[in-house]
């Protein structure tokens, strides 16, 4: 039988050294008794450390074990040293043991580590400082931790309250911060701690005011703030009276007769949400159309979207580009072609020698159609009724701009512009006369983004540029003719 005496309740290094030497000497867990110096010695045991001789050699344990053991050793259960040694012993022949959450030793040590971390967390939460002194003020708290966590929990307070001197007094050990380093001293009695603070009455009235008596959930409160902590929380004296009066207060809120409505104060400004711009815009201009379209409910797509994304560009534009519908980013920003497809379009316009600032850019459908998938929105192709419902806006934009040429980007745009389903590949690359408007059909820039193969991407990009150049040439020719 070996009796090991550790220097303190939290002596992890001592435990580690002893455990290593015991294990290397093949001392079985049942042959070791663990005690702490100054603690009550067990019956029939000596206070001396009877470690076996140091042996050459070393062995590995998973890093996770060290992490678990460092936490579990702070547990107040006197059996923790033996349990940790037993787990260490078993780990030497069973390296995967820590993965076995169902093993009683693993479960036991994990539960201890969890309890320690929970207690540390509760200490961070429930310590209440009281201000001492008027000139050189010092903040002092009294706390009764369940486990040996003061050393573990203290650095948190040092980093948080770096600019004020504080002390946390506990029965086991006290921590002090002077603005430079943490010092630990022996535990003290509660009577050493201050008993009040000038702000506690204010804090209590906040606690009472933030409580909603109509939704009493005492059990939920007690699960998170167990009664054992109440004696050191200044606000806890309010709990019982608040519960006692809750039903009455809530009942009164329900039963009270309605009072005469309060006469609202005179508003100093007009309410801001409603911008009155209808009258200021001349009818039929793009600005007026955009304003009118913000409230469009012609199809159900408005419901899930953020906003109507209307066309943008100069009223005098000779070229009008029509895309499919706004995407995720366009929906958020309220502007067409500002997402990845917009960047592709910008690049292509530049390569084709077209200045985007001179082009009117819009979409066949002006709300974003999507299905939410977790944190993203999956783009959905608009269907024919949606395209038809939105076509009025395209028609009115067309009438307002009267461009030389309309370029339809992709199948949805082609369907809207030409009024029928139009295959891109058979129609692209040539000017089409449609109801007196010249139309060019090409792909949508997002098609280029979707191509997986770099070679195909380069080829298709070139075809796209070629189509845009047809548009550029047409505009140059008609400008010259004029």
């Amino acid at each position: 039988m070996h009796t090991i005496t550790l220097d303190s309740e939290t002596d992890f290094d001592g435990w580690r050294q002893a455990a290593r030497r015991l294990a290397l000497n093949q001392v079985k867990p049942q042959d070791v008794t663990w005690t702490v110096r100054g603690g009550t010695p067990e019956l029939f045991s000596t206070e001396t450390n009877d470690l076996p001789e140091a042996t050459e050699g070393t062995f590995n344990v998973p890093a996770k074990f060290v992490e678990l053991a460092k936490a579990a050793i702070l547990h107040r259960d006197p059996e923790r040293f033996a349990l940790l040694y037993r787990l260490l012993w078993r780990l030497r022949s069973h390296h995967d043991l820590l993965s076995v959450a169902t093993d009683p030793d693993v479960a036991g040590v994990s539960a201890m580590a969890r309890a320690v971390h929970r207690d540390e967390h509760k200490m961070h939460a429930f310590v209440r400082f009281r201000e001492v002194g008027r000139v050189n003020t010092h903040f002092v708290a009294w706390f009764e931790p369940e486990h040996h966590i003061v050393e573990l929990a203290a650095p948190f307070f040092a980093k948080r309250f770096a600019d004020m001197p504080w002390s946390i007094l506990t029965p086991d050990v006290c921590a002090h911060w002077d603005g430079h380093e943490i010092a630990f001293t022996a535990g003290v009695a509660k009577s050493e701690a201050p008993t009040e603070d000038r702000l506690e009455e204010t804090w209590r009235s906040y606690y009472a005011a933030i409580f909603n008596p109509a939704r009493l959930k005492v059990k939920a409160m007690q699960t998170e703030m167990p009664q054992k902590y109440w004696r050191n929380l200044p606000e806890a004296s309010m709990i019982k009276p608040l519960i006692a009066s809750a039903e009455r207060t809530a009942g009164a809120m329900i039963a009270n007769e309605a009072t005469e409505p309060h006469k609202p104060q005179k508003r100093q400004d007009e309410p801001m949400a409603r911008k009155q711009t209808h009258d200021t815009q001349a009818r039929g201009t793009i600005a007026a159309l955009r304003e009118e379209a913000t409230g469009c409910r012609a199809c159900p797509l408005w419901k899930g979207a953020t906003q109507t994304v209307f066309g943008e560009g100069p009223q005098s534009a000779t070229l009008m580009l029509v895309g499919e519908q706004p995407g995720d980013k366009e929906d958020l920003a309220g502007h067409p072609f500002v997402g990845p497809a917009g960047q592709m379009l910008d690049r292509a316009l530049e390569d084709a020698g077209i200045a985007r600032a001179k082009v009117y850019i819009t979409n066949a459908v002006k709300h974003f159609k999507f299905v939410p998938r977790g944190k993203i929105r999956l783009h959905q192709k608009p269907n024919t009724p949606e395209i038809r419902a939105c076509r009025q806006w395209y028609e009115r934009e067309l009438a307002a701009i009267r461009p030389e040429l309309v370029v339809a980007l992709g199948a949805t745009a082609a369907q809207s512009v030409l009024g029928r389903i139009t295959p891109i590949n058979r129609s692209r690359g040539r000017l089409i006369d449609h109801d007196g408007t010249k139309v060019l059909v090409t792909v949508h820039p997002s098609y280029l983004l979707r191509l997986p193969d770099e070679k195909a991407k380069a080829l298709e990009y070139q075809r796209f540029i070629d189509d845009l150049k047809i548009a550029a040439d047409q505009l140059r020719n008609s400008a010259r003719a004029a």
């Binding site: 770096a162 009235s205 906040y206 909603n212 809120m253 104060q265 949400a273 929105r377």
Partner: protein, 411 residues
């Protein structure tokens, strides 16, 4: 009026906002010796709990409860007779620092009634954060309510100082908001949420070549929906949530059971708040976000559009999809395990680690913190297989329902 009286009024006015989170932000502390405060690593810290079961993490107050708006569900609506108060900027700053030094709170959650204009109100709210951060070097947590339609520069500044920003969507349906809060505009709310997301995305992107984008609300944005003030079904509520999570990458949607308020409007149901319903909605929200459930599966498509109140939504789903069970815990995929009643995410992690080494038995359930009676009818373990008759039995659902309470006699 003294500060304590103001605090009572302005905390009372703020308590119907359920959010009190202080989690998910960047790591900060004051160990450089300049300033005060830190953020909690990982999850936030709840410094206290009120008897309503809600955590108290932040000093949650309004700057003023005077409001131009007349939202029927709101305690601060223009026509309410509640006492009014207004903090000065310095009063909120001082209160925050005083409470923080005593370790009562993680930081400040500041909102305000709408006074004068959106920009004026937002500017007042931002001024408090600016003073805390720039003058007092406060490193604790700040949550600011964002006023829809506020100027972009003010929103950018709010994001510079705050950890989290939020705008409440209030009602699951646009029509309800139009009826109950005539001055509010869902479209303006959504546009501002969209603006926030663009700024959040920008701050999250770290272009290799350009200078770092400006800091913007590292704990993201959240919102709140009031449950039970209108007739929207749970399905409608969850669909709205799914839409908001996808569109604006919200960190959280808070559900707040509509609760009787002092001097309430008679146009609304004055009944005890539907707390169980609120709880079921949170569970369903979790299923959407962490358990791979689609909004369409959570609520029974053939029913009333409501979640059952007596059993949790995952159990209800499993009872509707018995053909998928029993599931062999030692073989099933992670996605399948997450759908077993009583299996939480941590338990599934532990199961997957454990079964790589040894098989799982009935006795292990307790160590995995899995409620045995709830899970056993749906799973196969190396020493357990539920009887086929049990899974097919009409009475299976009854096993999980809490026993009906007999009406008491007055005695």
């Amino acid at each position: 009026m003294d500060v304590q009286r103001k605090l009572e009024i302005l905390a009372d006015a703020a308590k119907y906002d359920a959010s009190c989170a202080s989690s998910g932000t960047e790591q900060r502390d004051s160990s450089d010796g300049k300033g005060l405060g830190s953020t909690a690593p990982g999850m936030g810290i709840c410094h206290s709990y009120a008897p309503d079961g809600r955590c108290i993490s932040l000093l949650k107050v309004l700057l003023t409860n005077a409001c131009n708006y007349d939202c029927l569900y709101c305690v601060n609506r223009a026509s309410s007779n509640v006492p009014r108060a207004r903090f000065t900027i310095d009063e909120v700053v001082k209160l925050t620092l005083d409470f923080y030094r005593r370790n009562y709170i993680e930081g400040l959650f500041l909102s305000s009634g709408i006074i004068r204009s959106a920009d004026y109100t937002m500017e007042q709210v931002v001024s408090v954060a600016r003073k805390l951060r720039d003058e007092h070097h406060f490193r604790g947590y700040i949550h600011l309510k964002t006023i829809p339609e506020a100027d972009d520069a003010l929103i950018a500044e709010a994001g510079k100082y705050a950890d989290r920003l939020s705008i409440n969507i209030e009602m699951p349906e646009e029509t309800s908001l139009a009826r109950l809060a005539p001055e509010k505009d869902v479209r303006a709310i959504r546009r501002t949420m969209g603006r926030l997301r663009l700024k959040l995305d920008e701050a999250a992107e770290r272009p290799a070549t350009k200078a770092r984008p400006p800091r913007f609300a590292p704990a993201g944005q959240s919102t709140q929906m009031i449950v039970g003030a209108d007739s929207a079904s749970d399905q409608t509520i969850l669909k709205t949530s799914a839409n908001l999570y996808g569109a604006y990458r919200l960190k959280r949607v808070y559900y707040s059971a509509f609760s009787p308020i002092p001097d309430a409007s008679r146009a609304l149901p004055l009944i005890a708040p539907p707390l169980v319903r609120e709880h079921r909605l949170y569970q369903a929200d979790w299923l959407m976000r962490f358990y791979g459930f689609d909004v369409g599966e959570i609520v029974d498509g053939h029913g009333s559009g409501m979640l059952p109140l007596d059993i949790d939504p995952k159990l209800a789903w499993a009872l509707r999809h018995r053909e998928r069970f029993p599931l062999d815990v030692n073989r099933a995929s992670r996605e399948e395990l997450l759908r077993v009643p009583g299996f939480g995410r941590k338990a599934v992690d532990r199961i997957i680690a454990t079964r790589g080494v040894t098989s799982i038995r009935v006795a292990d359930l307790a160590r995995l913190h899995i409620p045995r009676n709830k899970a056993l009818p749906f799973i196969v373990l190396s020493d357990h297989r539920p009887s086929v008759r049990l899974l097919d039995a009409a009475g299976l659902a009854e096993r999980f329902r809490p026993p009906a309470k007999q009406l008491g006699f007055g005695f």
